[in-house]
Amino acid sequence: MKNLFNRFKNQDSFFSIVISAIFFLILAVLSPYFFKSSNLLSLQAVIAPRVIIAIGMMVVLIIGMFDLSVGSIMGFSGIVCGYLLGHGNSIFVSVLAALGTGILIGLINGLLIAVGNIPPLIVTIGTMYIFRGFAEMIMTSDLAMSLTGFPQEFLDFGDSTFLGVYNMVWIMLVLLVIIELVLKRTYIGRSLYYIGGNKTSAISLGFNVKWATIGSFVLSGFLSALAGVLSIARFQSASRYLGQGIQIDILIACIIGGGSLLGGKGDMKGAFFGTVFIALLVNAFNLFEINSLFKSVVVGGALVLVVFFDGYIYLRKMRALGKV
């Protein structure tokens, strides 16, 4: 029993699980509205797309990089999907085109980083600017008039529930399980941790760092596009605010969930609970009618605390080993 608890305590996502459990309890006990179905449904619609993006972000973090373009990919792909649907294309074609857009942007990111040897910060800030710019150009032109009025089946998919839970939450859960299994149980998944942990030795051991980098960014682009498509299906329109500024929230959620910008750390539990923590936090502000402006104060403070404790514990370990 004690062994099991220690294993639970020592995993990277420990902090995020505890803190979201605490927030869950606070909300459940103190707010009579928390378990109202409307609140639970809106929470799902907030959490699911963000967790889907966080999955990709966590994989990118594991190899020691990060992706700031996720918000722009989400927005741009959502708008592409909305545009095609509004022009009478079939759902299959539109969704496929949107996901293809995401994969393509992810591929651009990955190629520039792995082959062009440009730091991920520069590349993803660049693509963040570029595709947010394209999205805004579409939304401020005449094309923007036709971004509503989607086919009924598409809207039904976004609105229908299975066992009381939105379809997109099921997609999210399936993705979480698959990626977690890949990360923990397959050669490819484990190699991502090696690469993130020590890039130089991973290269000399013969791991294909280039392909791992490209693959991770393609995955991140694909998942961001998927989140964009699911969001417009749920909210029935493509807005120019889709995914705006979401990258910082997701990055913070992943780091609170045990990821690290230094790489080699993190898992899907962390991606999930880190995102849930931020969503519950925002929900708490709404339910208790506290000014939601405090949200970023608390989120930022939580991140600084997590990073601080992480560094403190690491430093103590290193001191004990006599390495500092």
Binding site: L112, G126, R132, G133, V299, V304, V307, F308
Partner: protein, 331 residues
């Protein structure tokens, strides 16, 4: 400081040799600036006019304050993502002191600058004492400070600030805004120091090779703490002047400034890995971005397409720069 092998890292010649070998892409920015300057001069009538050039210089001179501390950090391989939030917060805080507490301008400014510097010092303390990653910590403080800004902003009615505060950015010396003069003075003084002062050169040693710098007894932690304090201080100063210029607070002031600064500095020849860059290059980088956006506005390119261009410029410059350097290293 003579080492056993006889190589003196503080020696101007050895060091220049080393740096020349690695940084021949360094002067890209001058070429870029020249090209865009000539292009705009010959293709448009409005660009090469005193008023136009003056307004570009005035715009850059305010943002330039935020660049000063940021440059030190980038050279040392550290980063402060909270500059943009700090830029916004300081203006709002001064407005708060003057509107709600009825302080006059000078004490408000001193108090706010002090508080912001203290915050920067704390961040620097955390990062150096516990060996944290500055990008992660300042990602947190970015959100933290932006949140504080939003809270303060909403705690008092949005007003146009009084004459005293508004006049800060408008103050002129000999018909030229004081910020422009300050910018040139700072660039000349700091540029001189970057070139000749061994104290400031330590910043490059830390960026180039932290371990060696440590072995040679350079107090990296103290210098880094100072740089984080300076970064918060200069960002706050820039923000106060920017708010004075737009005459009221706005939660969007400084929003995304960190990305603009990174773009400007990197285009100017700095490297996120540290060890490169300088105050003159930072200024040139910021000027390049300002001229580029003015030029695009003259050609009636819509603002969102300008954003696309900014992204392309960022990636392409870094690509060219890193490839030139890689080739020189091999050859």
């Amino acid at each position: 400081m003579q080492s056993e092998s006889g190589i003196d890292p503080m020696n101007e010649k050895t060091n220049n040799k080393l740096r020349n070998k690695r940084h021949l892409g360094d002067n890209t920015i001058i070429g870029l600036l020249l090209v865009i300057f000539l292009f705009l001069t010959f293709t448009t009538d409005t660009f090469f006019k005193y008023e136009n050039l003056y307004s570009i210089a005035y715009g850059v001179s305010i943002q330039f304050f935020a660049v000063i501390g940021f440059t030190f950090l980038i050279i040392m391989g550290e980063i402060d993502l909270s500059v943009g939030s700090m830029y916004g917060l300081s203006g709002t805080l001064v407005g708060f002191c003057m509107t709600v507490w009825k302080w006059s301008l000078l004490p408000s400014m001193i108090a706010v600058l002090f508080v912001c510097s203290l915050f920067g010092y704390l961040v620097g303390y955390l990062i150096t004492k516990f060996k944290l990653n500055s990008m992660m910590v300042t990602l947190g403080t970015l959100s933290l400070v932006a949140g504080i800004n939003a809270v303060v902003f909403n705690s008092f009615p949005a007003v146009i600030y009084n004459q005293e505060y508004r006049s800060l950015a408008k103050f002129k010396i000999a018909g030229i805004h004081w910020t422009i003069i300050a910018m040139f003075v700072i660039v000349i003084v700091l540029g001189f120091l970057f070139k000749y002062s061994t104290a400031i050169k330590k910043v490059y040693y830390i960026g180039n090779n932290p371990e060696t710098a440590h072995l040679y007894g350079i107090k990296s932690d103290a210098i880094k703490k100072f740089a984080f304090t300076l970064s918060a201080l200069t960002a706050a100063l820039g923000g106060i002047i920017a708010t004075s210029r737009i005459t009221h607070s706005d939660v969007l002031t400084g929003n995304g400034l960190e990305f603009v600064l990174i773009t400007g500095l990197v285009v100017g020849g700095a490297s996120l890995a540290g060890g490169r860059g300088g105050i003159v290059k930072s200024l040139l980088g910021m000027l390049f971005i300002a001229i580029l956006s003015t030029g695009m506005t003259t050609f009636r390119i819509e603002p969102f397409a300008q954003q696309v261009m900014l992204g392309v410029v960022l990636i392409v410059t870094v690509y060219i720069d890193s490839n030139i350097n890689a080739k020189r290293l091999k050859g």
